[in-house]
Subunit: 234 residues, 2 copies
Amino acid sequence: MTGEGRRAICLLSGGLDSATCLAMAREAGYDCYCLSFDYGQRHKVELAAAGRIAKHLRAKEHRTIQIDLRAFGHSALTSDIDVPKDRVEDEMKRAGIPVTYVPARNTIFLSFALAYAEVAGAQDIFIGVNAIDYSGYPDCRPEFIQAFEKLANLATKAAVERSAKITIHTPLLKMSKAEIVRTAVHLGVDLSLTHSCYDPDESGIPCGRCDSCILRRKGFEQAGITDPLAALGL
Amino acid sequence: MTGEGRRAICLLSGGLDSATCLAMAREAGYDCYCLSFDYGQRHKVELAAAGRIAKHLRAKEHRTIQIDLRAFGHSALTSDIDVPKDRVEDEMKRAGIPVTYVPARNTIFLSFALAYAEVAGAQDIFIGVNAIDYSGYPDCRPEFIQAFEKLANLATKAAVERSAKITIHTPLLKMSKAEIVRTAVHLGVDLSLTHSCYDPDESGIPCGRCDSCILRRKGFEQAGITDPLAALGL
């Protein structure tokens, strides 16, 4: 994977995974055009984190698109359903797709990334999905990503007129959370800038008890690295 | 195709095609949940038309989602590029994909329809794309629709947990504009409510000279039916 002189669209949520994914795209030489979404998530802390990370990792551009997923409700991230707390990993796995699932979210995010790619003249899209450590989201699976890539290559003017092949990159797909943490540190990502919690308090302090906080803690522990957010109670 | 007792998501732009598509879904027995987009198009006349048509064709629900495609610009429908006028059909065909193309628009629209389907408990999505009369948009082709259907069946919680197969219906795909006009009239669609023009004046009067007006006029002529909008100068 060499991206010297090429542009890439990088989906950036502000979390550990997407920050690491962006750092990997940069390391491969891409000029990175970051895309975040203000989709009515209950907390805006992650958007602030995305802005800091884009700057820290020297993105060429960072756009935030407003979309109204609240109109569809039905997720603990966009409506007032409670975020599950204190689940051990086995419990997460047994319970299936969690209430933090947002209907068709990655399909929508990748569609906007495709529009951005077409306008920015990029043929590469990076998304930090992961199929190893538990998430249970259908739209994080490799077969979903492959199907989107196929769609992308039928959907755009660039693909039709200039046979400009779009590639969806998922460098984290088969990495454990510990490997992600190690890679981030190796690439010089300041992980104190990232935000993973599904249910922070008003000042942005992570809860330490949601699935996302629990998986993050496990990742740092297994990597033998101290989370710079640990001082905040993680 | 029988939709008795089933729910369908119907993409509704306010034009002749999407109104006819909605009428066909209703005729097949579906309860219709209509979805329109306020995507920064230069004129809002078509959104008003969509609202009137949803009511006229007794949709169960009609939602309009705000999305900001202007952030990406690059289309005569969302930025200040001029809409082409007075082109004959051969000229449209030779010129390739027109400037009225909006990057990844149908990919984005179908992604939201998929989210809506998941929330409304629908497994059927109707979109009025047409591959016969000229449009030249890559995301109106049958291979694009098939790829989206495949993606949809990997993307959602319902597809994974309940094997609820999503179907993308394109009843207009192989119809000529004249057939679409005849079908609409046969199903009792009040075509005076529809709006097709890419470049209406401030009061919503169609220009009569853009590609969309020209194809509409040809459709009515070939169907031997008077366009109720003809009095407006079409």
